[in-house]
């Protein structure tokens, strides 16, 4: 038997899960082995420190909430959204809005371009009777023409 085996037995014995004789043998080993003795004291100390931790207690409000959820037939706790958890959603919405805005802007420009291109075509097409000078006048920006 090595120290690792004894230490495992000591841990198991502390939980009341080890064979009595094996646990007694491990305790005897501790008298001769400082390393295992220190280990046993340390894990005993840890368990008492864990035991001293404050115990979470279910408040009467929480119990009432649970009972109400069962009576209603709906668990209302899920999903719970908090402001910070929605940051990715906000970001996605902003990106979507920018994308839609950008697309809409391009569409307007494109439609304006096609409209203007149509005008040019009408002006310079051989079937029309307009002169080149008239076409140039027509193609100047509308704002400056005004």
């Amino acid at each position: 038997m090595n120290c690792l085996h004894y230490q495992q037995t000591l841990s198991k014995g502390m939980d009341g899960e080890a064979n009595k004789e094996a646990f007694a043998a491990a305790r005897r080993h501790c008298r001769q082995c400082e390393r295992c003795s220190v280990f046993y004291e340390a894990i005993a100390g840890i368990d008492s420190r864990l035991g001293a931790l404050l115990e979470p207690v279910a408040s009467s409000a929480l119990k009432a909430r649970v009972k109400a959820a069962i009576a209603d037939g709906t668990s209302r706790s899920w999903p719970r959204f908090r402001l910070h958890t929605l940051i990715p959603v906000y970001a996605a919405l902003v990106l979507l809005a920018v994308a839609i805005g950008s697309f809409a802007g391009k569409t307007l420009i494109a439609s304006d371009y096609h409209e203007r291109a149509g005008e040019v075509f009408n002006l310079v097409a051989p079937t029309t009777e307009n002169t080149l000078a008239e076409a140039v006048i027509e193609l100047t920006p509308r704002e400056s023409a005004q």
Binding site: I43, G51, V57
Partner: protein, 194 residues
């Protein structure tokens, strides 16, 4: 009707026979245990409370599938709570990697919520400070353990479940539980003696 003299399993039989109101007694008996399990896994007071509600709700809905021959009601309930807690814990971890680091203000809120959860008042500021520091140290060390080690150790040390019951809750074998608890204790020894 008073159900205090009945065992959990007897109460379950009563509920199945139509006495739905008896479920309230199970909530009274086990909500703190479920809360502790949820908190030890998620480390978040608010989420732990949500898990309590969700676990009881799920248990109530699937009460027909509970078999007293396979496990005690408490063990079965804790299995549900643990599974739910693990899902929430995974979700918290995902969010933690997605979002920037925790906000200081939020930590303060959590601390306040934790005080409510533990129902503690501050009778003596200096004495409480020492206790709080010690608890914080132990809690921090616990937080550094892998979830399975932490849960196994706490179910044994705090809830006093047998290795077999812990194994059922954690869906593993008793020998794995033994190993998890041993490694958890060893790791805590290292962390707390530094």
């Amino acid at each position: 009707m008073n159900y205090e003299h009945l065992t959990d399993e007897e109460i379950v039989l009563h509920i199945r026979a139509g006495g739905v109101e008896a479920f309230g007694e199970l909530v009274e008996r086990h909500s703190s245990t479920v809360l502790r399990v949820a908190f030890m896994i998620t480390r978040r007071p608010q989420e732990a409370e949500d898990i309590v509600q969700d676990a009881f709700f799920q248990a109530f809905k699937s009460l027909e599938s509970f078999s007293a021959d396979k496990a005690q009601f408490k063990t079965w309930l804790l299995t549900i709570a643990r599974n739910r807690s693990i899902n929430v814990f995974a979700s918290i971890k995902r969010k933690a990697t997605m979002l920037f680091s925790e906000l200081d203000g939020k930590d303060d809120d959590s601390a306040g919520a934790a005080e409510n959860l533990f129902g503690c008042e501050a009778p003596d500021a200096e004495a409480m400070l020492g206790i709080k520091q010690e608890h914080a140290r132990v809690e921090a060390a616990l937080g550094k353990l892998p979830e399975r080690q932490r849960t196994a150790l706490m179910l044994k040390a705090r809830e006093n479940l047998s290795y077999e019951a812990v194994a059922v809750v954690m869906n593993t074998s008793a020998s794995s539980v033994e190993s998890l608890i041993f490694r958890a204790r060893k790791k805590l020894t290292e962390l707390l003696t530094d």
